[in-house]
């Protein structure tokens, strides 16, 4: 989640009221943002990703001011017509087909407000813009640009300009290879034959979205008064909302918003469109979801506190709100305005019958029997390594690998339980013996017929480790367990590389191999640094469960 830092004085001026720190903290939390820190000068908050409009000082203050009841209701922003054009060429259709643009005039930039503009862009890029994939933003000094503006795409070899923070012109492919920002976002143009660019009427390149602006025509300075703003991406609605978030923040900084005509050839779109979206007020739906009994006028007053307007039975949604997808989001905002702390919780009297999962129940029973025999239950990770699962066990069973392993120690999901217990023994050499351990855990193997192509099974592993441990001591345990479960089994000699030859067998139940039991091979014990003999077994619990 993005964290933003607000200048507390600017924030308080924008809000129109100063709150004592404790109250401020509480109100910020209850508006639905995660407060990190408040000092005399700064407020650091984490904004939830559904509210990109709150990623700027202006946007945050706007929402907060309404919420605490200072400036309630829909903010009105005037959009003047500029009659200026952005011409969208068909070449962009398969790369980044859409743009939404605006002009904002009469701004006064200072060091701090330039930083603020950069922060808004950055945070929007990361969150709502999904790291520029869904939406990329550019802000340009209008005095360096000659209108109209063209949004088109060219072969990389035909694109050459001076990117931000470089002192010379670079070709498009050089930018992707040499410029830090180019390297970071190169993957967004990976398969593109043509690269999108904005250029002005004199063919000066303004930027190559979603990568980088030009140093000469794409950089705001303290001399800048008027700006051109563009958002490019794949969905016009998304771009319009993003543009609205930026231009309203700029307007709150003192700018005047001017619209532009986006000419797609076959159609023309005028942006920004700050006309509020409309949705019907559905009070009974809200009341039902919230468990409240609010009147229409109560609902209206709560909506005003969340920055909406209500006209008759129509709710006007601010044009910068990205998160209102459905009536339930209106209900959510009413709940916030009502105050989560004011809801009286209740337990409804819905009659339902409890039922535990029968396999889980069976697992409990098996463990209970083993506890009675003095075993200590462990709980090990499912993610482990080939070294533990196979190499140290002298085996080569197939394993399911993770695509994005954390480290060498955690690369696969386990196919056997026993190696996990061996690892536990090897990490407890200095503790008192006997170490008699048991665990039931999930193991994984490939199996085409399942939904994921992976079979998951619950396996029981038992180890007995002490100076005199042997096969018969463990077999006694197995026999006790089986007789407690009323299951008949036989042990059939087998060959298994982890065990001593002639001291390992398969556990056969109803003619099915459901596990193995034996004395661990001295080489395996050595691999795990163990200094005592170990008798061990592993048993398929799912299959056992089918028999009881």
């Amino acid at each position: 989640m993005p964290t933003i830092t607000l200048n507390r004085k600017v924030f308080e001026r924008l809000v129109g009221k100063k709150l004592p720190t404790e109250k401020l903290k509480d109100r910020i939390s209850m508006l639905g943002t995660d407060l990190e820190k408040v000092t005399d000068n700064e407020i650091i908050v984490e904004v939830f990703p559904n509210r990109p409009d709150m990623l700027s000082e202006q946007g945050f203050a706007r929402a907060f001011s309404s919420f605490i009841g200072v400036k309630k209701g829909l903010r009105k922003y005037k959009v003047r017509e500029s009659n200026e054009q952005v011409i969208v060429h068909p070449q962009v259709k398969n790369i980044r087909p859409f743009t939404a643009c605006a002009i904002v005039k009469n701004l006064k930039f200072t060091d701090e407000s330039i930083r603020e503009i950069v922060q808004i862009q950055e945070k929007l890029h990361i969150t709502y813009g999904r790291n520029r994939k869904r939406c990329a933003i550019g802000v340009y000094p209008l005095d360096k640009i000659s209108l109209p503006i063209h949004y088109t795409a060219k072969k990389p070899s035909e694109i050459k300009f001076q990117p931000l923070d470089k002192d010379k012109e670079l070709k498009a492919d050089e930018i992707l290879k040499l410029h830090p920002t180019g390297i970071e976002y190169a993957h967004l143009l990976k398969d593109a034959v043509l690269f999108p660019i904005f250029h002005d009427s004199r063919d000066n390149i303004l930027s190559m979205p979603p990568i980088i602006n030009s140093e000469t025509a794409g950089k705001i300075t303290e001399d800048t008064k008027d700006v051109f703003v563009e958002c490019s991406g794949h969905d016009l609605t998304v771009l319009e909302i993003c543009l609205n978030i930026i231009v309203t923040a700029l307007a709150d900084m003192g700018g005047d918003i001017y619209s532009m005509k986006i000419n797609y050839g076959s159609k023309q779109v005028i942006t920004p469109n700050l006309t509020p979206r409309k949705i019907k007020m559905d009070s009974s739906y809200y009341n039902k979801l919230l468990g409240l009994n609010l009147s229409n006028s109560q609902i209206k007053s709560f909506l005003l506190r969340m920055g909406y307007d209500v006209q008759g039975s129509t709710i006007l949604i601010p044009a910068y709100r990205a998160d209102i997808l459905h009536q339930v989001d209106i209900a959510g905002d009413i709940a916030i305005a009502y105050g989560y702390e004011n809801f009286k919780e209740k337990i409804p009297d819905v009659a339902t019958i409890a039922e535990e999962d029968s396999l889980e129940n069976f697992k409990e029973k098996v463990i209970t029997i083993l506890l009675g025999l003095g075993f200590l239950e462990t709980s090990t990770y499912h993610i482990t390594s080939e070294t533990i699962q196979n190499e140290k066990m002298n085996n080569k069973f197939p394993l399911i690998k993770l695509s994005n392993a954390l480290s060498q120690e955690f690369t696969v999901i386990r196919s056997k339980m026993l190696p996990c217990l061996m690892q536990v023994l090897s990490e407890n050499l200095h503790h008192e013996y006997p170490q008699n351990l048991c665990e039931i855990g999930r193991v994984f193997k490939e199996e085409k017929t399942t939904e994921t192509g992976i079979n998951e099974n619950e396996n029981l592993a038992i180890v007995i480790a002490h100076g005199n441990s042997d096969f018969s001591e463990l077999k006694k345990v197995l026999s006790t367990l089986m007789s407690a479960l009323s299951i008949k089994y036989i042990i059939k000699p087998t060959v298994h590389n982890s065990f001593i030859k002639g001291r390992v067998g398969n556990i056969i139940i109803n003619k099915k191999e459901l596990g193995y039991i034996g004395e661990l091979h001295p080489q395996v014990l050595t691999n795990f640094n163990l200094g005592v003999p170990v008798a061990a077994l592993e048993l398929n619990i799912n299959e056992l469960f089918k028999l009881v």
Binding site: D235, L325, A354, D357, T378, S379, T380, I383, E446, T450
Partner: protein, 503 residues
């Protein structure tokens, strides 16, 4: 006599008391008891504690036979051999060869015999005197002394002292060792105890005592009840599973039905069915574990896949705007390790398509997130999931269920804050008040499932309450675990000693 004292006597003490005599040497006692040294000493020390005796530690010089001394005692002293060959006067050299004396032995014995006037020496020849002949039938004082060994230096009489000194100067006849010995001094209490009958007290009640009835004439010794006897290890559940078992019971008590399912899931169930856009950061490699092979699973039936696609792209029939991007079925089929148990709720909703009754479900299980391990993060964690499907369910009920559960887990004060999750509305994160640390701890998230989730799965728009707080942090406080890594360390000592979940 104090009967409490008598009662408290251990069988070893009872056995040893009658054998002690005043100022007895410990070693002497040891021979009499026939018990081991450690046991006997322990019994004496107990008696000393009870003021029945005093153990004195002494240092003594013990005189015993040296190597030559032993030989001389058997075969005779050199001077005795010397005398014996002097039936006729002999040259000294002949004496030496006849009785095979070393030069040194010859000189010493010559000196002794001459000094005592037992021989005469004339022109190199030695002859026995009358006085010497008397000693044919009589022991030399040296011989008497050697036969009296071993003894202690301080027991020597004046006349023995000079013999001792003389013999000490001769080669390897005597050996003097410094030894520590324990002497036992009986106190008045000890003497009184010796006058008592002590042998009718037993340590253990035995089957034969019960059979013969001999217990009637026996006193069973009282124990030292405060003695530390050590601890036993017992069969014990892993502490996490103890608390999980409790939490499962709480949900069952509240009428919930258990959901379980696989840890590997397609992205479809883990994300797409939960209205989590395919470009949402939670689906990135640095957040979610993907399976390398088999990398893709099967998507469920086409109708469901299609309605999920529509919901993502433009809202489908849910009256939502949707996420407004092109949904990719390939991305939905990617296999992941489930990141939350909410995928089980999605599957459960789908399984209830044709059911009309209200239902409550819970799950308690492992999930996986690609986190670097540190004190506050693990890549495997437990979550406790719950859903309530009911036409009249509402936000207040959600708060009610969560408060109730938290109360049963030991947290009386719960605070709800607005939050955001892609698949819920009226989303909340809740904190509990830590009664000892006096601060709020964030425990988890909850909300009501969005229509974009419910309608495609369930086929109708019914309120569904949902929550999924992480479980590990709920229970670590009980065990006073501050570092989450300690949960799955499987340190056997820790597992043996951690307190039992007593709720």
């Amino acid at each position: 006599m104090n009967s409490e004292l008598i009662d408290s006597l251990h069988p070893l003490e009872r056995k040893i008391i009658p054998l002690i005599t005043q100022n007895m040497n410990f070693n002497t006692l040891l021979e009499k008891t026939g018990m081991g040294e450690v046991e006997s000493l322990r019994a004496l020390q107990w008696l000393e504690k009870k003021k029945a005796l005093i153990l004195h530690r002494d240092v003594i010089e013990v005189i015993s036979l040296g190597k030559n001394g032993k030989e001389y005692l058997q075969q005779g002293l050199p001077e005795r051999k010397f005398l014996k060959v002097l039936l006729t006067p002999l040259l000294l050299t002949d004496v030496q060869t006849k009785i095979n004396l070393s030069k040194e032995e010859l000189n010493v014995s010559l000196g002794v015999l001459k000094r005592r006037k037992l021989i005469d020496l004339e022109k190199g020849k030695a002859s026995i005197t009358q006085q010497g002949k008397n000693f044919f039938k009589k022991d030399f004082p040296e011989e008497i002394f050697l036969k009296s060994l071993p003894t202690e230096t301080k027991n020597l009489k004046e006349e023995e002292l000079s013999i001792f000194k003389e013999l000490l100067e001769r080669k390897d006849i005597l050996q003097v060792d410094i030894r520590k010995v324990r002497k036992i001094e009986l106190t008045d209490i000890g003497k009184q105890l010796q006058a008592q009958k002590l042998d009718n007290v037993m340590n253990k009640l035995t089957p034969s005592m019960l059979k013969t009835g001999s217990w009637k004439n026996t006193i069973l010794r009282p124990y030292d009840l405060e003695q530390d006897v050590g601890k036993r290890h017992y069969g014990k559940r892993h502490f996490v599973n103890q608390s999980i078992a409790y939490a499962r019971r709480v949900w069952l008590d509240m009428g919930f039905k258990e959901m379980t399912g696989t840890y590997t899931q397609t992205s479809f169930w883990n994300f797409d069915a939960l209205f989590t856009a395919q470009d949402h950061p939670v689906r990135d490699l640095q957040d979610t574990f993907y399976i390398e092979h088999p990398s893709n699973g099967k998507l469920p039936n086409k109708q469901l896949v299609n309605s999920i696609k529509k919901v993502h792209e433009y809202g489908g029939n849910t009256k939502s705007l949707g996420w407004r991007y092109k949904w990719d079925p390939k991305a939905a089929s990617r296999n992941v390790l489930r990141t939350h148990t909410t995928c089980l709720s999605a599957k459960t909703l789908y399984s209830l398509r044709n059911s009309n009754s209200s239902a409550k479900f819970f799950a308690l299980g492992k999930n996986f997130r690609n986190e670097t391990i540190d004190w506050g993060h693990l890549f495997e964690f437990n979550q406790t999931e719950g859903i309530v499907i009911d036409p009249s369910a509402n936000f207040r009920d959600l708060l009610g269920y969560l408060k109730q559960f938290m109360k049963k887990m030991g947290y009386k004060k719960v605070r709800f804050r607005p939050a955001y999750f892609p698949y819920t509305f009226c989303s909340t994160e809740f904190d509990v008040f830590h009664p000892v640390h006096k601060k709020w701890i964030e425990l988890g998230g909850a909300g009501m499932l969005r229509p974009e989730v419910v309608i495609p799965l369930l086929g109708k728009d019914i309120p569904v309450l949902a929550w999924g707080p992480g479980f590990d942090r709920i229970m670590t406080d009980y065990y006073k675990i501050n570092d989450l890594r300690d949960i799955y360390k499987n340190d056997i000592k820790q597992l043996r000693e951690t307190k039992v979940w007593l709720k």
